[in-house]
Each structure stands twice: as structure tokens, then as C-alpha cells.
């Protein structure tokens, strides 16, 4: 309350002096619109310079651009965005820009069309241009030579418009001559085509061939994929304007985040990256060598363009970030599209707007810019630009020759131009194409195949010949070429059957994709051969999982009889993929005979049987755990899954349940906990004494005591009620036991629990609720009411009541009665959440004038603020809320203040709370993590995943409440609050709070104080921090925005005397043995670095050093850093110098 009380007082004073223009909130932040102001604010990669190619009024708020084969740039602009006003004309336009004298500046501009409604893509070709016009794709054409469209045809319609920054967008000619198009989350599209209806509900990518009028969905998901680039071999990479996983490798039927109903999704290649709009491979002679082949992705929030380097990895790629191409301090610089130009320069479309989109900021906010727009051109000093060629003037031979141009744009434009020519003249010219020096002949052969497809005269023979290439990329590309029309191709099955056993996993991935297109019986039995002989990575695994499901009608009936696959392993993969009890006996006998015995496979079987098997099958598993020589890993896996079968499917193994009791004696905590849960689920009365004594021994082992709660509650009856009642009331019980007893009683009977709770809460040490009493009430429908009632005439100390108010205020059920009761019981004034316009005005002024972002970061990182638990910055932090990496450059300051004070006011897309209420009154709030036929998995605000049986669900609604609790900032002084806002407002802007592209290790775990360290460090040195001691507790610890790891902020691990250490460890995955390069910086004299158990010598008296670790065995490497506090130690940075092909970060969840 501190802050709000003082804030109220300050604001009264401030109000008197406040500016009158309250409706102009923040307008003073509007950046200078002059071109020169933007030019001065750019920072470029070495050797680059930037010039203005075009600007308003020719382009205003450009949304997309593409080149035509004459070397002219087509730009589509939408000042109408975000929403048409009643009475407003549909006047958005497409302009053709031309640099006629080659000076790098557009000197001619023609309005090709001026009657569009929020157009979001333009693609010249076929003698006109294809334009995304909200609900429809238009083909506009000029027939009289004035470059103004005079013919208008709707070529596709039925695209959704539920959100205008998600409309159909990102048009691109593919190398095979199809038009590729993307749509985003919330968009529900229903196309009628001459081939039938095609629907895409949510994000995804389409391809469309104008001459056949065939449109199909290629992949699904991603939140806002406004970037698509083909690499030299025709593989597709997407970027996402709202996801945060950098570059996404996509392939047919791949499914990514937020695709509705998806039971499995793939991830991007750069988790924790800023969001991007646009994507382009940098190619061509004008560019410096070190940029060639990189993929550029504009970070429109951070006003910069990121670069990534892709490296082959299994069936997919790894991607690592390298230094930015360009960045700007100018807040209206919004790079939203990037294209290589016909002169070899890089062109950037700058949407130009201080406000980035329309979710959070009012449609009619006057700060929206609806006039300006810029096209920037980036060139390099060392090389001349290329002359712009008009490909439409070339004869067929010269045009074919352009297919070997070093510039990808020229190759693509040559293909587009070929579509305007007679195939009879073009194809012979293409056939005679020679192989330039230094170019893989198979790449040239592939270009010929693409030319044939571009003319819709697919040369299948040439594609098949490429399957014998030595280069796996050529083989994969050949399969992709075959893929599109595989259903009409009699050879396709034979082709895929051969390719499925290809030595390279990416070729197998495409073989599976081809199979998925076929209407023959053998698709899945053929595809499953892909699991043998290569490492099954996530992408190939996904493709196989997908075909097993999509084509289940082709193999399931056979599998009921006998295994139709070549091995039990393949069978297990397939039955798990469909998640149905098919061939259970075959699998179980393989388990019985020991044919299947690896921990992973046993876990897989247990998981599958628990989801699909019969009580007899569960008993088979149970018997497996009871064997004398059963491994604890198997026991653990099976008991866990028996518990979920009991909970989700309400089924139990046949046979004597008392066999379970032996596990209640287990020394293994996990096995005990699972057995305790099962005892309750199975109503095993004989287990009660064991559960009871573990409950009472909570002080020795809290985890076991927690685990007994479920069991004791399920066993229920007077004995359990009596136990909870007496422990909650007993004077000798610890607060932990009391809390657990209240929780237990509340779950049995909320009213009875509430009566107990009041006194326990009144005596809560430090006014805290560490063991979840409030949560127990909020987790059930009757709970809040019961607690409110019990509080009617009671008093609570303010701190514990405040905790309750915060928890209740962020509960999706909105228990207002409980909030009021808590406020009354502690005489709390309702928290002031909203600021008046004038208060907001002065707060924003304070942020601008006196806010200290460095101190703000410290506030942000305080454990009591809990920011880091939910929000990451550049991948460092929790995943419950949005990554804040560039929030400052995308959100206005008033938005940030509102969001801190009133989290429910604006909720980021994808972060809505779903409230699931069960028939028994229990409720779960959080984000839906995934679902299948039987269960729904909800991730709550603590990151915990709750598996909920669908059969038990009474209702499932999107709640208007944010998962972020209000009042988190109530503990702050006003100056601290101002600093926190100043910090958030700087995030992503040029300066100290923009995450650098360096590969700093950002996810760490820090060691909690432990009794062992004080004495053992003297004997064994720092190596004790690398020991695998079970009772060591490692908590998540994240790097600061700069990448620095502040050792003084870590828990203080006690050493000898007054020595206090900060200790952190991390894990990275190294792909091959040999030297791996790191850089470490900080006060190296006082730092200890360990690789595994080995201490690495650091040079003395320097502040940074490059070090090489010798990796003997590829795989996980543990790196530990420790430092003695009190000697001026501050931040330590550990940077990986090798790219992601060699060293990959491991997510903290996997540590």
C-alpha cells in the first residue's frame, strides 16, 4: 500500500501543476517525423550506409512490398488500418516505385490502385498484381499501358478479418511458381475452390497456383507469421510477429503454436527471440561475404533488423543470432518488410508509426501515424551496386541464363517473367542452361525443375533424377517438388519408399511428407521405416506422428491382428501416436519378454497404456513394478501413469490393490508420493496409517506430507476430518502442518476448512501464506464464499489479508465477496488501481524526468516482485506471461503503467486465462497447454500443468482476468515504481536495455545455502559445487538484459568464516567432441569457473578472456561459476562463441 498512499498524496500536489492537455497523453513522445531525424538515428553494421528510396506521400504506412521483373518496387500501404470509420472511403493504395536513373532513389511513382481496404500484401506477376484485400485476394491488371489498374477480379475469397493485423499477408512467389500466402491467429478462412472447400482456422500458410486455381494449406499455426523466405534449396522459413521463437522451419502438415485444437506443436529455432515481421535471405554480389546466406528478420518493436545464421541439424536446422544489420533510436522506425533489390542492395519497408498495432492502443488514438512511410535502401561501401535490369526485355535464352544469377531475387524474377512467355520457347532455353563454375550441378538441375513447375509443366523425370544426388539438400528439394502433385503420381509411392531409408533425416522428412499426400494403403507402414537408423529429432518425429494419425484408417485394422510394421518399436511409435489401445497385447508381451526394456520405452508404454488401456492392461503394468528386479525408473514411470489413469479415466488395475503398500515403505520420495496418491485413488484403507504418519512427519519431509494430502482426502471419512481438525487447532503443530491441514479440510468441506483457516491465517508468521491456504479456497467453487463467511466477524493482520486480496484479485473466478471480506477483516482500503488522466500525465512526466532504468531493473529482479517468475526478457525468465524483450519500444508509457496497475485492462493475445470449472466445484485457471480426447492440460500462474479429465469438466470459458495478479507494485515506493516503469520503457530501445545478439548464457540455476558447504569447501574447494548432491537445492536464476549474471544477487552460500559465495550453474548441449570456445568477463581474479568437475584456469588481472573447453564426450556440459562476494564482484558474462550448430542452449526446464 505504501506506494499508493504516497502516490495519492503526491498526485494531489502534482495535479495542480499538471498540464491541461490530458487527452493528449503522451503526445509529447511523438518522434520527429523528418527524414533527417530518422537518418541520424540509424546505427548500421560496419561498412553499410543507408539512404531514403521513397517516402510519403507516395507511401504511407506501407505493409508489404515486392519487385516486378522490370525492376520496379510495388508497395502496398494502409493508412486505413486499423479499422475503417463509417463514412470513410476505401482508399488504401498500391504504388509502383521506379528508380529510372540508377541513383538508388525512386524518381517515379505511379498509383496502380487506390481503392483498397486494408491491403496487406502485393505480388506483381502474370501481367498484373495479386493483392491481399482483407476478405479476398484480388488480381488487378492494367490493360491500357498507363500502369493504373483498370481490371479487377476476385481470385480467392473467404478469408477471415477478425483482426486486421492478422489478415491474409506475406505473398511470395515460390521457386515452383506458386503464390505463397500466410494468415494469422484469430483468422478463420473458408475458401471455396474448384477442388472443394479449404478451411484454415487460425494461423498458417497457403499455397495457390493461379492456372489450376488450386489452393491448399501447407502448415498450421504461428501467431502472426509475417515473414517467409525460401533458402537456396527451396526450404521454407517463417518469422512470427507475435511468437518469440525467431526463425521457424516449416514443412507440410507441421503445426506450430496457437493452432486451434492442436494436440502437438513444434517450436521455432530461436526460443526467446524478439518478434519479427518479414524475412529475407541475404544474397548476391553486392553484399560483404560475411552477410551472404544470413537470414534477416526485422524486429519492428525493437526498431532494428536481426540477422540469423542457419546451420543444418538433423531433419531441420539450428539458428544463431549474429549482430544486427541496422537499428534505430527513432521510435517510429518500424521495419516490417525486407527485400533484396534488383541492384543488390537491401530494401526495408518502414511502416513508420510510434504505435505498433491495434490491440492495446485505441483504434482512434491520435498518436497513430497515418501519413508517413519510408522505404530505406542499405548499401555497402566495398562493392558497387548492380545495374537494374528489365528482365521483360530479355529473350528466352538470356532469361533462362538469369536462373543462375548469384542474386536470389534475380532468379525469382526470371521465373516470374517466364510465366509471361510461351513455355514452348522458354523450356528449350532452360534445358540448355549451363553450370557456372563453383555451383553444384545438382542445384542447376533443381533450378530447371523449378522452371518447369513455374510453367506448370512439371519435369518429373528431372526431379526423380535428383534423388540420386550426393547432396541431401538436392534430394530433399526433389521430394518437395514431387510433393505438390504426389496424389496424381503413380510413381510417388515407389519414390518415397526408397527415400524413406535415405541416410539423411531431412530427406526422410520429405519422404514422409510425400507419403502423407498419397491415397494408397501402404503410407504409414512405409513411413515408419524412417525411425530406424537415424536419430529421430523433433521434426521428423512430428511428421511421423502426424501421418500415423492422419492415415490411421490404413493400418489400425491390420495392427489389431498382427504387427504390420517391421518391428515392435515401429508399432509402439504408431500406437502411441494415435493414442488408442491398438495391439496392446503385442506391446505388453514385448515388455514382459524384455524385448522392450529401455527406460524411455517403458515410460512411453506406461504413458500410453494409462491413457488408453483396460484395467487388465493396467494390472499388467502394475505386475511389472512388483517384480523383484524391477528398476526404480520403471516403477516410478508406471506408478505415475497408474495415478493418471485413476484420475483422468477413473480406472484401476484389476487384482489385489494392497500390493501397493510395499511402495509406502520406499525410501524413494517420488515412488512414495505416487503410491500415496494411488492409495487415495484406490481407496486403500490399509494405507491410512502409513499416510497419516508421513503427514505428521511433515517437518522432516514436506514433500511426502504434501503427497499424502490427496490420499488422505480421498480416503476421507471422519478419521481424515478429525486428523485435519486436530492438527489445524493443535497448539503444538507447526504452521506447515496447520496449513496442510486447512488445505486438506477445505478440499473435503470448504465451510469446515474456512472455520479452521481464520485462526491459522491470523497467526501466519510474517503475514505470509507459503503453503497455499488461499489457493486451496480459490481452487474450488464454494471456497471463496466459505472463507468470506468465516471472516465475517473476524480480524486479520493487514499483511496476510493483503496477500489474500492479491491472490483473489487475480483469480479467474473474480471472487469479489472474498476480496471485500478480506479488506474488511484487515481494515484495508481498496487498492487504488486506476490513475486519472492528470495523475497519468504526471506519472509519465516523472518517468521521463527522474526514472532510473538501472535501478528499475533491480526492482524488476527482486524476488518479492515475482516479475521474473512469469516474464522472460530475451528468453531469460518465466514463460507464463509475454516475453518483455522489446516492450519499451512497442508499448507507450501509459500502457505500461496501466498494465502494472490493472493487469486485466489489456491482455496480450495468447495470454488470456481460461477458467475450467469441474462438476465437483474445483476450478483451474490458466492457459490451455494442450488437450486430447480425454484430458485438458491447463498451465497455471505458477507454471504448473494441471491435467484435467474432460469427463469432469462442467464449463470452460475464457476469463477476462489476466493471470498477472494486481497489486504486485503496491509494495513499492513511488520512486521505485517510476524506476520500474522507466526500465520497462527502455526495453528493446537502443541502449543498455536492448538484448545484445551475443550468445550469452541467460538461464542459470543458483545454489541455495546448504549445510555441507561451510566445512567441505575447505577440504574439497569449489568442486563441491559441482557435486551431484541430492539435497542441494538449485533455483532458477536469470541473466540481466545485458547478459550479465549479478553474483551479489544470488543466495549467499556459506563458506569458512565470513566467506559468502554466489554459485550458479548452467548446461549447454555440445554436438561434437573437441574444443568449444567461450568468453567470460567480469572480475576474473575472484571468479571460479568449472566445466563438469574440472576447474578452468582463468588469466589473472584481466576483465575478460576467451577460454576453450575441451569436450571429450558430446552432449550435455555442465558449467559452474562461483564467486566470493564482498570483493567488488558484480556481473559475470559467459558468452558462447561457437554457433548453434556446435553449442546449443538447454532450456532451464531441462536442467
Amino acid at each position: 500500500m505504501k506506494f499508493f498512499q504516497s502516490l495519492a498524496a503526491t498526485l494531489i500536489v502534482a495535479t495542480l501543476a499538471a498540464l491541461p492537455a490530458h487527452s493528449q497523453n503522451g503526445l509529447k513522445d511523438i518522434p520527429d517525423t523528418a527524414v533527417s531525424a530518422q537518418l541520424e538515428a540509424f546505427q548500421l553494421i560496419e561498412g553499410a550506409k543507408v539512404n531514403l528510396f521513397a517516402n510519403e506521400p507516395a507511401v504511407a504506412n506501407p505493409t508489404h512490398m515486392n519487385w516486378d521483373s522490370r525492376g520496379r518496387l510495388w508497395v502496398v500501404s494502409s493508412p486505413l488500418y486499423p479499422h475503417i470509420k463509417p463514412g470513410q472511403e476505401e482508399q488504401d493504395k498500391v504504388v509502383i516505385l521506379e528508380d529510372t536513373n540508377g541513383d538508388g532513389v525512386a524518381d517515379k511513382s505511379i498509383d496502380f490502385a487506390t481503392n483498397l481496404h486494408i491491403p496487406t500484401a502485393v505480388l506483381p506477376g502474370d501481367g498484373g498484381a495479386y493483392i491481399a484485400n482483407s476478405i479476398e485476394v484480388l488480381f488487378l491488371k492494367d490493360t491500357d499501358g498507363d500502369d493504373v489498374a483498370d481490371e479487377r477480379q476476385v481470385v480467392l475469397s473467404g478469408f477471415g478479418t477478425e483482426d486486421t493485423h492478422h489478415l491474409l499477408h506475406t505473398f511470395k512467389w515460390g521457386p515452383e511458381g506458386m503464390i505463397w500466402m500466410n494468415q494469422s491467429i484469430y483468422i478463420h478462412t473458408h475458401l471455396e475452390t474448384p477442388y472443394g472447400i479449404r478451411r484454415l482456422l487460425g494461423g498458417g500458410m497457403w499455397h495457390y497456383r493461379p492456372e489450376t486455381q488450386r489452393s491448399d494449406v501447407f502448415m498450421k499455426g504461428l501467431i502472426n507469421p509475417w515473414g517467409h523466405a525460401f533458402d537456396e534449396w527451396g526450404q521454407s522459413f517463417l518469422t512470427d510477429g507475435a511468437g518469440s521463437q525467431g526463425i521457424n522451419f516449416v514443412f507440410p502438415r507441421s503445426v506450430f503454436a496457437t493452432s486451434p485444437g492442436a494436440s502437438r506443436i513444434l517450436k521455432g529455432l530461436n526460443p526467446g527471440q524478439p518478434k519479427h515481421c518479414g524475412a529475407e535471405f541475404l544474397t548476391g554480389r553486392h553484399l560483404p561475404d560475411d552477410l551472404k546466406g544470413l537470414i534477416a528478420a526485422p524486429d519492428f518493436r525493437g526498431s532494428r533488423i536481426n540477422l540469423f545464421k542457419l546451420t543444418d541439424n538433423g531433419s531441420a536446422y539450428t539458428s544463431s543470432q549474429v549482430p544486427d544489420l541496422i537499428s534505430s533510436k527513432h521510435r517510429a522506425f518500424r521495419p516490417i518488410d525486407i527485400k533484396m533489390g534488383p541492384d543488390g542492395a537491401i530494401y526495408v519497408a518502414d511502416w513508420y508509426n510510434p504505435i505498433i498495432q491495434h490491440g492495446e492502443v485505441d483504434f482512434r488514438d491520435s498518436r497513430r501515424d497515418q501519413k508517413h512511410g519510408r522505404i530505406w535502401r542499405i548499401t555497402f561501401d566495398d562493392q558497387d551496386t548492380l545495374p537494374i535490369e528489365d528482365l521483360s526485355q530479355l529473350d528466352e535464352k538470356a532469361l533462362a541464363g538469369k536462373l543462375n544469377a548469384p542474386e536470389a531475387l534475380t532468379r525469382q524474377l526470371a521465373l516470374t517473367e517466364m510465366r509471361n512467355r510461351d513455355p514452348k520457347a522458354v523450356l528449350p532455353a532452360v534445358a540448355n542452361l549451363s553450370v557456372p563454375d563453383g555451383v553444384d550441378p545438382d542445384l542447376v538441375a533443381l533450378r530447371k525443375v523449378w522452371a518447369s513447375q513455374t510453367l506448370n509443366q512439371f519435369d518429373e523425370k528431372a526431379a526423380v533424377a535428383l534423388l540420386d544426388s550426393k547432396n541431401h539438400k538436392a534430394r530433399a528439394a526433389a521430394l518437395r517438388a514431387i510433393y505438390y502433385r504426389a496424389a496424381d503420381n503413380d510413381e510417388a509411392l515407389a519414390i518415397a519408399s526408397k527415400a524413406i531409408a535415405d541416410p539423411h533425416p531431412q530427406v526422410r522428412l520429405w519422404a514422409v511428407s510425400v507419403l502423407a499426400q498419397l491415397d494408397v494403403k501402404e503410407t504409414v507402414t512405409t513411413a515408419m521405416k524412417a525411425i530406424d537408423g537415424v536419430e529421430l529429432d523433433e521434426f521428423l518425429d512430428f511428421a511421423l506422428w502426424s501421418i500415423c494419425r492422419e492415415h490411421s484408417d490404413r493400418w489400425v485394422a491390420d495392427a489389431q491382428e498382427k504387427n504390420p510394421f517391421s518391428s515392435t518399436r515401429q508399432l509402439l511409435f504408431a500406437v502411441r501416436a494415435i493414442n488408442k489401445p491398438v495391439a496392446v497385447d503385442q506391446i505388453l508381451s514385448a515388455l514382459e519378454s524384455g524385448e522392450i526394456s529401455s527406460d524411455q520405452e517403458v515410460t512411453d508404454i506406461a504413458d500410453w497404456i494409462s491413457k488408453t488401456g483396460s484395467p487388465e492392461n493396467l494390472n499388467n503394468l502394475f505386475v511389472h513394478t512388483l517384480k523383484e528386479n524391477a528398476s526404480p525408473a520403471h516403477q516410478k514411470a508406471i506408478l505415475t501413469t497408474l495415478a493418471s489413469a485413476g484420475r483422468i479415466r477413473k480406472i484401476q488395475p484389476t487384482g489385489d490393490k494392497n500390493r501397493l503398500n510395499q511402495f509406502l515403505d520406499s525410501k524413494n520420495d517420488v515412488i512414495f508420493s505416487e503410491a500415496a496418491t494411488l492409495a487415495g485413488l484406490w481407496k486403500l484403507e490399509s494405507a491410512r496409517p502409513g499416510l497419516q504418519s508421513a503427514f505428521l512427519a511433515a517437518a522432516e519431509n514436506q514433500g511426502r506430507a504434501e503427497a499424502t494430502l490427496n490420499g488422505l482426502i480421498s480416503l476421507g471419512g471422519p478419521p481424515t476430518a478429525k486428523l485435519f481438525d486436530s492438527e489445524a487447532k493443535s497448539e503444538t503443530s507447526t504452521f506447515l502442518i496447520k496449513s496442510l491441514a486447512v488445505r486438506g479440510r477445505t478440499r473435503m468441506n470448504p465451510a469446515a476448512g474456512a472455520t479452521l483457516a481464520v485462526e491459522v491465517l491470523q497467526n501466519a508468521p510474517d503475514g505470509k501464506d507459503p503453503h497455499g491456504i488461499y489457493a486451496a479456497f480459490l481452487a474450488t467453487k464454494q471456497g471463496p464464499g466459505a472463507l468470506a463467511k468465516a471472516l465475517t466477524n473476524a480480524k486479520l493482520p493487514q499483511p496476510i489479508a493483503l496477500v489474500g486480496v492479491q491472490k483473489a484479485s487475480s483469480a479467474a473466478t473474480k471472487p469479489e465477496g472474498l476480496v471485500k471480506a478480506l479488506q474488511k477483516a484487515a481494515d484495508l482500503k481498496p487498492m487504488k488501481m486506476a490513475l486519472s488522466d492528470t495523475e497519468m500525465e504526471s506519472m509519465m512526466e516523472a518517468v521521463a524526468k527522474s526514472g532510473d532504468p538501472h535501478n528499475g531493473e533491480k526492482v524488476y529482479r527482486r524476488a518479492s516482485m515475482q516479475c521474473l517468475v512469469c516474464h522472460a526478457i530475451g528468453g531469460a525468465g518465466g514463460v507464463i506471461g509475454p516475453d518483455l524483450v522489446s516492450i519499451g519500444s512497442s508499448a507507450p508509457v501509459d500502457y505500461l503503467i496501466d498494465s502494472l496497475l490493472q493487469p486485466n485492462m489489456k491482455i496480450k493475445e495468447g495470454y488470456h486465462t481460461t477458467l475450467v470449472t469441474l462438476k465437483n466445484g474445483d476450478s483451474f485457471a490458466g492457459a490451455i497447454a494442450r488437450e486430447d480426447d480425454n484430458e485438458l492440460v491447463v498451465r497455471d500462474a505458477t507454471g504448473k500443468e494441471n491435467r484435467i479429465p474432460k469427463a469432469d469438466i462442467a464449463s470452460n470459458n475464457i476469463s477476462p482476468v489476466s493471470l498477472m495478479p494486481p497489486g504486485l507494485t503496491a509494495q513499492l515506493r513511488e520512486d521505485e515504481f517510476v524506476d520500474l516503469v522507466a526500465f520497462l520503457a527502455q526495453l528493446g530501445k537502443d541502449g543498455d536495455f536492448k538484448t545484445p545478439p551475443n550468445r550469452y548464457v541467460r538461464q542459470w540455476q543458483s545454489l541455495m545455502p546448504h549445510e555441507r558447504t561451510r566445512d567441505a569447501i575447505g577440504h574439497y574447494g569449489h568442486q563441491i559445487f559441482t557435486e551431484d548432491i541430492k539435497t542441494y537445492q538449485w533455483i532458477p536464476f536469470f541473466a540481466k538484459v545485458t547478459g550479465g549474471v549479478p553474483i551479489p544477487e544470488m543466495p549467499k552460500v556459506v563458506g569458512r568464516g565470513r566467506n559468502r559465495y554466489g554459485v550458479a550453474r548452467t548446461f549447454v548441449d555440445v554436438s561434437k567432441a573437441g574444443p568449444v570456445r567461450f568468453k567470460i568477463s567480469g572480475k576474473l581474479n575472484d571468479l571460479i569457473l568449472l566445466h563438469g568437475e574440472n576447474k578452468i584456469e582463468l588469466p589473472a588481472d584481466v576483465s575478460e578472456a576467451e577460454i576453450t573447453l575441451e569436450v571429450k564426450k558430446p552432449g550435455r556440459q555442465k558449467i559452474t561459476v562461483s564467486g566470493l562476494n564482498g570483493f567488488g564482484l558484480d556481473d559475470v558474462k559467459v558468452e558462447v562463441l561457437d554457433d548453434a550448430g556446435t553449442v546449443q542452449f538447454i532450456d532451464i526446464k531441462e536442467f
Binding site: I118, L191, E192, G196, I197, F363, H912
Partner: protein
Amino acid sequence: MKPISLRITLWCLALSHAALAYGAEPILKSGDRVALVGNTVIERARLSGQLEAALQLAAGPEVKNISIRNLGWSGDSVFGDSRSYFGPPQEGRERLVSIVSEIKPQVIFLCYGTGAAMSVDQGWTDEPIHKEPSASGMEGSLATFSQGYQEKIDRLRSAAGGSLREIVLVSPPPLENLGEPLPDQTENNARLAIFRDRIKQLATDNQLSFVDWFAALGGDDFNGEVASPALTNNGLHYSKSGYQILGRELVKGLGYGETSTIANDETPELVASIIEKNRLFFHRWRPANETYLFLFRKHEQGQNAKEIPMFDPLIAEQEKNIEAARQKVFAGQPKN
């Protein structure tokens, strides 16, 4: 579709308004509100204005102020598959019911069946209990279609309320074979004929008017030949001249006899105001940004939902223009 092209050439361009069959009650009356409901063939009709112009002119000079609302939606099924946003088809049906109960039309035209006929064996609805039956061969598909259509008729009838006079079932028009590389639609047309028969049966069972676009455009005589110039852009989507024929055959089927649909370049004002009215009405009933204005993100932009009804006076203004334009057409027309 050869017969069509013949008919076009034989077609008299004279402007003559509806000549109703003797004794028949005209379907359109002054002040009528008319709802056009269906899939893409209806939805796209709003762009050329031809279909509405045909109705407006067929009604004749004495009938005034007909207000037509195009509620077509690409890919829609009888279950409302296209009309739901984030929910199941049920939500789509409710959306249609809600707009129909708002408009309270006197006449409703329904045109469904293309999607179902083209998706035999593949399934054409996500409606949970009908998903599988819709994929189980011609019989299953037809039965599911009839059931869904019957429910739709019943619900729309009650949604429209007491002012409703007529529901007209219109069969889907045939598909055209435009030759390689476009697909051959012969098989789909054979299926469409079967669906047409079922729709006709539904009309009889429910005592509704029925207009057979399929037969009128030559679907029954279809031998793979196509009108020249083609009536569709791709075999499926009708072009402006295609809609002219569809309009003409619609009013003929309604009993207006051999009337001219003329709603072409000779009536530019009428067509232009119809197109403009349709554009405005689209922003009114299917506004962009629904997620923010009315659905689960309305706490962010719901304040702007107030703008949406501001389209109403603009639409009313265009309706006046439509009426003025049609009266002008009638005024310039020689008396019979």
C-alpha cells in the same frame, strides 16, 4: 452448358419489367426486407450487384423500397460451418439466426449444396454429430444435408418471426468445365443434380418456393461443353455476366416470367448503388476486428464498437439511391 450461350444470344435486350404468370401472387412487395443466405455464390453476388438488380427490377415500378441484405458466406454449410469464429458450427448458426431476427425479413432466399456435393466421402461439416455421417458416401452425405437444411429452415422461420412471407430454396448452379489445367467437374455436376433433387423435395415437403438454378443454367443437359464466354472464372465462381444470367433465371424461377434482368451496363446507377450499399452493409454485419469489438478482446477495443451502427444511416442513404435509380430505370422504359 452450351444451351446457355444460345439463350444469351437469343436473349432480348429490351427493357421490360416483370411479366408475372397469370394469377400468381408477386413474391416481392413494397417495403420488403429480403435476406440472401448461402455460400460463396451468394456472398460474391454482392460484388457485382447483378443478382439484386434483377430482383429490384423484376418487382416492377409499383413495388417500392425493397431492402436486400446479402448474408452469404464463403464455404458455408447448412450447419453454419463458416459463420462461427472461435466456436463450433453451432455458434455460426446462432450468428445467422441473430442477424435474421434483427432484419426480420419478409422473404428469405437460401442457396446451399455446392460444398456438400463436392465433398462426398470427404466430409463437409465440423458439426460434431454430423461430421462422420457427412463423410459416409452419397447417401450419408445427402441425409445429413437434408437434416441440416430442414433444421435451418425451421430455425430461420422462427427467427424471422411473423413478418416472414416466403422462404425460397434455390438450388446451387452447375459447375463449368473450363478445360485443362482446371479440373473436370462432370462428376461434381452429377452429384449436384442429386442434391438439387433433394432440395426440391425439401421445398415440396415444406411448401416452399423452389428455383432450379441448376437446370436453368443447363446443368441437366451438361455434356462437358461450356458457354462462350464462360459464366465462371474457374468453373465455380460466377463472373459478372454469369451473375446476370443467375439473376435472370432467379426472377424467372420466381414466376416473373421472361423479364429482362438488364441489370448491366445499361443501369450503372442502380448497380453502383447496390454495390455501395453492399459494401457498407458488409462493414456493418461482418466488421473486421470482431475479436476486439465484440468478442473476447472487447475489453481492449470494445469502446469502438459504437462506430459500427454508424453505418446504418449510410446504408439507408444508399437504399434511397437504389430506389431512385430503379425508378429512373422504370421511367425510361417504354410502356408495354
